[in-house]
Amino acid sequence: MSMCERKPLVALLGALALVSVLSACHSAPTRSGQPLGLGTPIDAAQLAAWDIDIDADGRGLPPGSGTVAAGQRIYETRCIACHGAGGQNGIADRLAGGQGSLATKTPVRTVGSFWPYATTLFDYVRRAMPFDSPQSLAPDEVYAVSAYVLHINGLLPADGRLDAASLPRIVMPNRDGFKVDDRPDVVGTRCMKDCAPGS
């Protein structure tokens, strides 16, 4: 136990003792590796509403499931105004199409052509969509919308269903299209006189 006690204990000590604890903490430089004893312990139940991230392996996916058909119904009421029919031609990001275009002069980046993980789709829809009412969809609805978006990209059949087991198994077409930063790929030169002009 560090010399700086946790907050509940500090609270019990009263004002005078608090001063002495704080000064003890103050004298313990943080470099020493000693915690200062600030902050409040928090458990999983308290954190549940915030702890909504899904990792690339699907850890964090909630119970529930959703079908392509149910997702289409949700999409056509909650998503279509911005993303357009079938995930195209909306004012917001295009969601479908573009597969095979990435190496061309007019690449089209969509969920189907570009996103490496299907888990990202669930995570993003759950935390940030619909734009006018984020975090309003129930898990079944998020599974359903995710299923529909994968369907319009040819990645799930019309009678498809998604749940915590099947979603991470979807193999996205651009899964291996990313490489970790390998710069410097461009090296400038410092010529001062009579250089080749350019920009």
Partner: protein, 436 residues
């Protein structure tokens, strides 16, 4: 056109001492010309003072009566400075005003610190109005002691203040495309520099105790995007700050009030605003903001990911796009340079489109991963000129040309543009963005 009167001892045709503060003294010279500038003949064309000779200075009204009283609750710029504001990019009409950006007016600010009201904005779901009493920062996941910190808790940790630039990875992104005649604000204004105050993230991680298997952490905002980015633990332990203040006052709401992450030298997006949660894990989460966005698509169809560091870069802010030089003769070329790798070591300036270069003067102190102001006097002879700046950082990285960038990356990578900027000066004095 107001004529130009050379100061005593200065001769437009000679090598001139431009800056008495430059080191070593006397080494600085004016960059000259555009077209050929020949001694006496050129000096003769640069004639006359800016103020009409013989005009007596009046005693104006503001010297003859009392000004406004004290106790203006929060000071504002002079009413004459109303044009110095953030703007969305010229011609841009963001379909979602809460998922948009505004740009810093780089041509109209001075020194190296960006005033808080002019720091660029990029939001994905608007600016939340967060009650600091209710806000919490939770650190959990692969830690020994998951903890929740109130703002008051964080204010009790040792405070750290550091000056760092902040640049959006998408800054200057329109330069991947054919040149548009935009201002430096529109082209490069997703760039600011502040003194940031907060707690070292390493201190907080010590407080929770990092598990040995932890390698990454997820940073999450409390805005309506609940934006997330994965951060390598090494960076978090190295120099990351949990920031609550900028330039001496609490963060502005649009900068993450009451808490934001700040990762010095890294693309702005990862310095998550309105920070509410840090979760430690073993691998990156592959969030939308690090897969669908902020990845660099290359000509072969592959994409570079986790390209965090912002490379060495500079831009001349004056003269710059949209400005008009009012007279020939002495001009002050000035601009900003920065590098996510370290300090700026030198900045070179060319007035002939990159054929010949002269080293500019750097304002001191030059700080690590902070904006650095450079300047160089220039005698403009009224002919056409193309102004460029080229920065070199403390790791020896040299800012590349646009052509070099495009040769390596094509034109579709969207982010991390750091090519040399070219400003064309026309005989009319008008200044435009060009690619030469």
């Amino acid at each position: 056109m107001p004529p130009y009167l050379p100061p005593p001892g200065l001769d437009a045709g000679a090598d001139l001492i431009a800056d008495k503060n430059a080191k070593p003294p006397g080494r600085r010279r004016f960059l000259q010309g555009g077209a050929a500038l020949a001694g006496g003949a050129a000096a003769a064309t640069l004639a006359g003072p800016a103020r009409a000779a013989g005009e007596a200075l009046p005693v104006p009204a503001w010297t003859r009566s009392q000004g406004r009283p004290v106790a203006n609750p929060y000071g504002q710029p002079s009413g004459f400075e109303g044009r110095v504001i953030r703007r969305v990019r010229e011609g841009a009409q963001p379909p979602f005003p809460t998922a948009a950006s505004s740009l810093t007016p780089l041509a109209d600010i001075f020194g190296t610190i960006t005033p808080n009201g002019l720091v660029f904005e990029r939001h994905h779901a608007g600016i939340p109005d967060i009650d600091p009493e209710q806000h919490r920062l939770v650190i959990h996941g692969l830690v020994e002691r998951p903890l929740s910190f109130s703002l008051n808790d964080l204010l009790r940790f040792p405070a750290v203040s550091r000056v760092h630039f902040l640049e959006c990875a998408g800054n200057s992104g329109s330069e991947w495309r054919p040149a548009r005649k935009l201002t430096v604000q529109s082209l490069h204004g997703l760039l600011s520099c502040c003194e940031w105050t907060g707690v070292s993230l390493g201190t907080l991680l010590q407080e929770v105790g990092v598990a040995p298997e932890a390698k990454w952490l997820l940073a999450e905002g409390a805005d309506a995007a609940a934006m997330t980015r994965s951060v390598p633990l090494d960076k978090a332990l190295d120099d990351a700050l949990i920031v609550y203040a900028q330039n001496g006052e609490m963060l502005r709401p649009e900068q993450g009030y009451p808490l934001r992450l700040l990762l010095p030298g890294w693309e702005g997006n990862i310095s998550v605003k309105w920070l509410r949660r840090l979760k430690l894990g073993t691998a990156p989460w592959q969030s939308r903001q690090e897969t669908s966005k902020y990845t660099d698509l290359l000509p072969d169809g592959t994409s570079r990911q986790f390209s965090f560091v912002l490379d060495v870069k500079s831009v001349i802010t004056g003269p710059s796009g949209g400005q008009t030089l009012k007279s020939r003769g002495r001009q002050q070329i000035t601009g900003l340079a920065w590098s996510g790798h370290g300090r700026i070591r030198r900045v070179d300036v060319s007035i002939d489109g990159g054929r010949n270069w002269e080293e500019a003067v750097l304002q001191t102190p030059v700080l690590d991963r902070a904006l650095t102001r450079f300047s160089l006097p220039w005698l403009w002879d009224g002919g056409p000129a193309v102004l460029q700046s080229r920065a070199v950082d403390s790791h020896g990285n040299v800012q590349p040309t646009r052509s070099q960038l495009i040769a390596a990356r094509g034109t579709e990578s969207a982010y991390h543009y750091n090519g040399i900027q070219s400003w064309q000066v026309l005989p009319s004095g008008e200044v435009h963005n060009v690619h030469v």
